[in-house]
């Protein structure tokens, strides 16, 4: 496996009306790399609209960046040969945010698993395929008989999201691109989900790009964290360092936004809306390019 994913100066602009120059820049000159070995979890943290999900779409090859390139094994993912493309597809797999919309309501949930089996030629016979599916479902702590043959609307959000994990488990990619996978799950199911991700890291050596706006999940996962704001990565480092000694004002603001689980420490300070703007205005460093973080 050519196991490295690299973003080199990725920029993504979208046409938009009512903006001065006719487009908005969702991702602005982002560079970072992810290595498959040793397996790790890298979190990408930022507020809504900061460009996190766009980066996920770029990495997954669903959206061609306006400038810059996404490299897999040193090659641009939009210029891969057939064999390389097949390998890239197999090796970089997503878990999406919305456990409801990810399933086509027309089909039973088994279909996403069978489709993955067929497209990536994981099993030659139906019996073998079923065996793989059941094994993967058990790996994400789902009982096959409870989910197979059902329609998506008959399962809970947590079950559906774990079926997506079962799909990942079957494909064994080197990279999981998880775009806000737990934002629509409740607290207990969320921990469950994160544990499975950690499990995948240690047992199957999968590297996860974990995209979220929620610092508590980042803290739980550990590993590295990148902070993104306004389409630029402003900080990268081990979770403990970034959490305790944030260097960028935006990171500080983000950390201040976590409520303390202590009844005596009520959330008294208010963040004025314009403070978010001021952070950038007051700090010219935010406009300069962040150094390309190296792992």
């Amino acid at each position: 496996m050519k196991s490295e994913l690299e973003l080199r100066g990725v920029q993504q602009r979208f046409h938009a009306r009512g903006v001065a120059d006719g487009y908005i820049t969702a991702v602005d000159d982002v560079s970072f790399s992810l290595a498959a070995s040793p397996p790790q979890i890298v979190s990408l943290v930022g507020q809504s609209g900061s460009g996190k999900s766009t980066i996920a779409r770029n990495v997954l090859g669903l959206q061609k960046p306006t400038a810059g390139s996404v490299l897999y094994g040193g090659k641009d993912i939009f210029k891969l040969s057939r064999a390389e493309y097949d390998e890239y597809r197999r090796d970089v797999q997503p878990v999406f945010q919305d456990p409801y919309a990810i399933f086509n309501p027309f089909y039973r949930v088994d279909r996403v698993l069978w489709k993955a089996l067929k497209k990536f030629k994981l099993a030659d016979t139906r019996a073998k395929g079923l065996e793989l599916i059941e094994e993967s479902l058990r790996a994400v702590r789902l009982e096959p008989e409870n989910v197979l043959g059902r329609y998506p609307h008959q399962l809970s959000g947590g079950q559906r999201q774990r079926i997506m994990l079962a799909r990942v488990h079957m494909l064994r990619p080197s990279f999981i691109i998880a775009d806000e996978p737990v934002s629509m799950l409740d607290a207990q199911v969320r921990k469950h989900f994160l544990d499975i991700l950690l499990d995948f890291q240690t047992k199957h050596g999968m590297t996860t790009l974990f995209i979220t706006h929620d610092l508590s999940t980042v803290y739980y996962l550990g590993g590295e964290v990148m902070v993104i704001t306004k389409g630029q990565i402003v900080e990268r480092g081990p979770v403990s360092t970034v959490m305790h000694e944030p260097s960028h004002p935006y990171t500080k603001l983000l950390l201040d936004s976590i409520p303390q689980p202590d009844p005596d420490q009520r959330w008294t300070s208010r963040i004025a809306v314009d403070e978010l703007e001021r952070v950038d205005d007051a700090n010219p460093a935010a406009d300069t390019k962040p150094e390309a973080p190296i792992l």
Partner: protein, 291 residues
């Protein structure tokens, strides 16, 4: 087989759909067997021939719906005209649905300048006043075949289907399950056929039904004002004859009433099918137990 049971299940779940389909089915059967029925009425000779019987016979045992101004059996005429009307609906419905679906999927899924051109074109066709143009067209169309009339009418009815389906494609193609299919190495055509098309079946069904209805009623409209294309005898033609000869005053009421009742039933049936389809295909309205 699985599709068949699924279809049966859907029909069982919706009374509206079942009622609509039954009425429609009966009419289609009548239309299919119309040559047999017409033969039976004639008993060896053609009951629709001019002067086959005496003219203006009132409804009775020999002639269930009486005869018209040329002595033709009205019941036989109605059967034949029903079959013609349904055929027009089917031809125009199929042509405009196929054209609409193709245009809608190409425009909606590909987007960009292709969408721009196709949407502008459908938009232009949509704002053209159809009926006057149809009148003008049919003035030139003497002795046209059924199929030609169907094509003529569907030229103006496919944009409606295209427009509604395109907007659905636009909203569906950004769904996460389409992205998931793409990262599972599905090709564009495969995504369109297996991910998008099934979810659009109710819209396509509605598109078909409304273009079929539009075609049938468009032709009836032309015939009733006496401007229909020559050579095609549909239900509208019978209504036109009833109006121009004053059939109602002569006691030949079935000539006027029966075609109208049939058209109303057809309209109701197709609409019930439309509404029923929508009910059934909205997955939120499906039973929680699924089976």
């Amino acid at each position: 087989m699985r599709i068949l049971t699924a279809v049966l299940r859907t029909i069982r779940n919706s009374r509206r759909l079942a009622a609509g389909l039954i009425i429609l089915g009966v009419m289609v059967l009548l239309a299919l067997f119309s040559p047999v029925i017409v033969n039976a009425i004639g008993g060896g000779k053609d009951p629709i021939e001019v002067a086959a019987y005496e003219k203006w016979l009132v409804p009775g045992p020999g002639h269930l719906l009486g005869t018209d101004q040329f002595g033709r059996d009205v019941f036989a005429m109605v059967m034949k005209a029903l079959s013609v009307s349904l055929q027009i609906g089917a031809i125009a419905g199929i042509i405009s649905t196929v054209a609409g679906v193709i245009v809608a999927f190409v425009a909606g899924y590909k987007g960009g300048w292709i969408d721009g051109i196709l949407s502008t074109f459908t938009g232009i066709l949509l704002v053209i006043p159809t009926f006057p143009l149809l009148i003008a067209l049919s003035a030139y169309a003497k002795n046209v075949s059924l199929f030609q009339v169907g094509v003529m009418i569907s030229i103006f009815s496919w944009p409606f289907a295209a427009k509604t389906i395109r907007s659905q494609v636009l909203s569906l193609r950004t769904r996460p399950y389409v992205d998931l299919a793409r990262v599972s190495k599905a090709r564009d055509l495969e995504i369109i056929v297996t991910e998008l098309l099934p979810n659009l079946l109710p819209f396509i069904g509605v598109g078909f039904a409304s273009s079929a209805l539009g075609a049938i009623f468009g032709l009836v409209g032309l015939e009733v004002i006496g401007l229909g294309p020559g050579g095609v005898v549909d239900l509208g033609q019978i209504i036109y004859n009833a109006i121009t000869t004053g059939a109602l005053t002569l006691g030949a009421w079935p000539m006027f009433v029966v075609p109208i009742v049939l058209l109303t039933l057809l309209f109701a049936a197709l609409n019930m099918v439309n509404i029923g389809l929508e009910e059934v295909y909205n997955p939120r309205l499906r039973g929680v137990a699924g089976e």
